[in-house]
Symmetry: C2
Subunit: 249 residues, 2 copies
């Protein structure tokens, strides 16, 4: 049994609380948050606290807090003997430096408050300073996910950039798609099966081989017709991505 | 019963042939292609021909050919009495002008040769010059899909641009994600659950509300760290999309 304490009250902390409470092999000891507000609903299922001096000894303390809070919070936790890990894609493990035993537990997924997540399918990237701590983290991660990867801080930083492209930027392109639909009285739902299939396709075919469309055909006539429909911002993005696809053929 | 003839030997023609052969309410009369090569495998299931003068009278002729071929082929079909439709997102209905009864039957999905498609979930955009022909098209479309939309040529043109953003450009961003992974010895499969969840999310939440990431937070420190990892092309795209998200907040 791995004894775990969660620190944080946001989306990720709440998703992790749910999955830890149901996981075999993990005992969720406490949840800490600055205020009770976001963890109040868990009071009947686990001990909650808003006081760091109340923290009990456990195997792993998980900081599921914002990037900005990690360093500040870790300064207050340097007396702990357990393994301290953060859950950030962007921050180095060394951000936790003042503490004795440090590591990272980074679930690479987008979490929505109201939507339940199947953690079995969430890739978890782990890292630790000491081999025995990495093994401990791996044991815990294996209790909740079938996809556990050893990823160092440099690799995780690159993964985080890649995630910005395939998640944040992709979602922004969906926004443009919706804008064009709304402007032309077309229900956006027409595009949703295409969006889903585009995402599924790359499980079977590498994206470079799945590339299609006017840019792949260097179909300059279509470029001109398309640009007539777009505003300045959309045209700039259309032009740059078309140029990039053309160069990449 | 709607009697249909397919013209074309590409991906879409082959997918349509499969679904028409199984659909209730549709009789696939013939498949025409310039060469037998790509339709040969259907010989045992339907009459195939490489000679336009062999075409029998049917209710609907479907041109599932490339955009460039539509106009040329329609010139050779102006003697037909049936309804002639093309399947292109980019071309106006009027491209078929020399023919008597014209329309459009545009399935909005990405088709891969080897991958079976559930047509029930494929949105089909229909258009016709005459009301009775629109009704005929609708009857046929309803036999294979639960999502049939009346979309005129102008709207379809806009939809096609939107599809370039949410399909072609999104896939290109996946390519960048894979490139970053490969360069850093990270398995690309780590990003696939995130990619799928990002696509699924917009069924529940409009993409504008689902937007997250460093650009939404105007997190300039992260922008600088990320850009250190990117090549010139990736930096240009990162900068432009970040600027666009910032402006759109």
């Amino acid at each position: 049994m791995v004894h775990v304490t969660l620190l944080g009250g946001g989306n990720l902390a709440n998703h992790l609380a749910s999955v830890f409470l149901e996981a075999e092999g993990i005992i969720l000891s406490q949840i800490y948050n600055r205020t009770f507000q976001n963890i109040e609903h868990l009071r009947n299922r686990v001990e909650i606290t808003d006081d760091l001096s109340n923290l009990k000894p456990v195997d792993i303390y998980i900081l599921a807090v914002s990037d900005e809070a990690i360093s500040r919070l870790s300064l207050q936790l340097k007396h702990l003997n357990g393994l301290l890990v953060h859950t950030s894609g962007a921050m180095d493990m060394d951000t936790l430096q003042p503490c004795k035993r440090i590591g990272v537990f980074y679930p690479l997924q987008t979490f929505t408050k109201s939507k339940k997540v199947d953690f079995n399918l969430v890739p978890i990237c782990i890292e630790a300073q000491e081999t025995k701590d990495l093994f401990l983290l791996e044991t815990m991660a294996n209790c909740i996910s079938k996809q556990v990867y050893k990823i160092d801080s440099l690799q995780r930083n690159k993964l985080h950039v890649a995630a910005v492209f395939v998640n944040n930027f992709v979602n922004y392109l969906y926004t443009i798609g919706e804008d064009i639909c709304v402007e032309n009285q077309i229900p956006f739902e027409i595009l949703q099966p295409l969006i889903l299939e585009t995402a599924k396709k790359i499980n079977d075919i590498p994206p470079a081989l799945a590339q299609t469309g006017p840019a792949m055909r260097n179909d300059t006539k279509t470029f001109e017709i398309h640009k007539q429909s777009l505003n300045a911002n959309q045209t700039e993005i259309y032009t740059l991505l078309t140029k990039a696809i053309l160069k990449n053929r």
